[in-house]
Amino acid sequence: MVGIPLSALENLMKEKGAERVADDARVELKKILENYLYDLSLKASKIASHSGRKTINSGDLLIAKK
């Protein structure tokens, strides 16, 4: 199973202030985060190929977010 682990998401949500977390909530959050990452990475890969690189740098992601 490829993806962000659910237990890590639950720990993160509890650190941010959530008291109790339902099982469906973390699955929903995982879906949202992966969709967000998919759009972000596609933009970043276009920026990287535009500047003639084969690897994605941290700057590409920061520009893609803006």
Partner: protein
């Protein structure tokens, strides 16, 4: 030419006899190490080690999400190589997004009289925050 009285060092399995002045420091060294051992035993018995206990402070983790699955997701989506710093920034961005979603979802769930956060709370929270990210 060799100087007189010089003998080459013995090589191989030839038996050698050490002179007396070489044995004395070895005996002294052994005696000192034995004293050290006795002293350490004394310390252990009297439980003085408690005062010499070394405290090790572990570095606190900044990220709660793991790097490698996020880097693997980017690599499988785009088919490109991912730099080490890129996946660290990606986790940072995702944690910022989750912080914004969860803070909104807590307000929504408390308003509707619940303590647990459900899937619909997160879905509604994301729809309202989506434009900022």
């Amino acid at each position: 030419m060799r100087p007189e009285g010089f003998e080459p060092p013995s090589v191989g399995l030839e038996p050698t006899i050490l002179p007396d002045y070489t044995i004395a420091p070895i005996l002294i060294y052994n005696f000192i190490s034995f004293l050290k051992y006795l002293f350490l035993c004394f310390l252990k018995i009297t439980n003085l080690f408690k005062s010499f206990k070394i405290k090790v402070y572990m570095a606190k983790r900044e990220n709660l999400l793991p790097f490698s699955p996020i880097g693997a997701l980017i690599a499988t989506n785009t088919g490109k190589r991912v730099a080490k710093e890129a996946r660290e920034t990606a986790t940072k961005l995702l944690e910022e997004l989750t912080e914004a979603i969860v803070k909104k979802a807590i307000l929504i769930s408390e308003h509707s009289g619940r303590k647990t956060i459900k899937a619909k709370d997160i879905n509604l929270a994301f729809q309202q925050i989506k434009e900022d990210f």
